[in-house]
Amino acid sequence: MKELIERLGTKFPVNETVFQRDNLTFITTDKIHAIELITHLRDYEGFSHLVIITAVDWIEEGLFQLTYLLNNPKLKVDMGVRVMIDRKEATMTSSHHLWAAVATYQRELYEMFGIFFPGSPRIKEPFILEGWDGPPPYRRDFDTKKYAEDTYFPRPGRETHDPAEHMKEKMYPEGS
């Protein structure tokens, strides 16, 4: 694995490497070289299977982290390629030409996080939310509780307890 990272380092900017397990490594690259790097991994290094594309909302840093998780069926190793993109203008180069499934992942990311992939097929069609008109619901500045209370006629009289506090009171009522 280490040789592979070194080999990649000579061709592409690899910023940060996390050796998670023997068979799972995460590398971070920049937005411009990401698709090139993934194509290289697919065509020359045998990472022929795309497992998932997912995103993380780093709201404090103002960043979205995209993770392309690739699998090498021959060596049975996984490689996650992380790309940090700006949260304000969340746009990423589309990679739908690499795998057929990518277009669907990108549709989902556009719907849930509002990350736009120009040129990706059917990107603006609703994926699972029909007729959604609020902000993308997986963004962390979207308040689901407030939205649900405003929209879905909550039944009054509902109590919520913090599980830890509640169990402490129940089981040890005298001490705190």
Binding site: G131, P137, T144, A148, E149, T151, F153, P154, R155
Partner: protein
């Protein structure tokens, strides 16, 4: 289906003739529920009682699992619980069933289908709501995409609480539904027809892309 499919349009036929298509009129029955029909009862009490007994002893469930509870209904037809002996059977089409079980949480997307399926069932029809999610949202109460209270959108006859309820409690729910029907109180469909405007207002408030007729017959 999308909004475009139910717009009026003109189609050129094979002989060059123009055919006007109004899907709401041609493909659906555009009538609203007829309150008189929904409340129709036999004038002879004993016949109405007999009919109610027959309705209660022959509950045909629509095979439509809406949430996680869909999988919880399967044990009911296994040798251990065997609901067939209580006159409960499962049908694959809404037209032939008279019990609709909302089994667990309803996302907005599923609610749309549930409304369509419910409205297609012939009256009198009964609605059994399964799990806490249908009562107050359950563990999905603050979710952005699941409804909290089912009775704002469809008339519920019997609630079965639990997350998820065991098959035994579902059977108990069926028993109370049977008693309700025998007492002549299973009039959910009539209630729906009576407060139709209110139900539609609530439904349309959360289903933003309303792309079907108001009453799907």
């Amino acid at each position: 289906m999308s909004l475009k499919d139910i717009e009026k349009r003109t189609v050129i036929g094979p002989m060059g003739e123009e055919i006007e298509i109004d899907p709401l009129r041609d493909y659906y029955c555009a009538a609203t529920p007829d309150l008189k029909m929904e409340q129709r009862k036999s004038s002879i009490p004993i016949i109405e009682k007999f009919a109610n007994w027959a309705r209660s002893e022959s509950l045909w469930i629509l095979a439509f699992g809406t949430g996680c509870g869909g999988i919880e209904l399967r044990p009911l037809v296994t040798p251990k619980y065997d609901v067939y002996r209580f006159g409960i059977q499962i049908r694959a089409t809404p037209r032939q069933s008279n019990v609709f079980i909302i089994s667990g949480y309803l996302s907005v997307k599923t609610l749309k289908r549930a409304i369509r399926a419910y409205e297609q069932m012939p009256s009198p029809k009964y609605l059994l709501a399964l799990g806490s999610c249908t009562i107050n949202g359950g563990m999905y109460w603050d979710s952005y995409n699941t409804i909290n209270r089912l009775d704002y959108y469809l008339p519920v006859d019997v609630y079965v609480a639990g997350c998820m309820p065991r098959p035994e409690s579902i059977l108990a729910g069926f028993d109370s539904l049977k008693q309700l029907i025998k007492d002549g109180k299973g009039e959910g469909a009539a209630k729906y027809a009576e407060k139709f405007e209110w139900y539609k207002k609530n439904q349309k408030q959360i289903i933003k892309d309303w792309d079907m007729p108001d009453y799907n017959w």
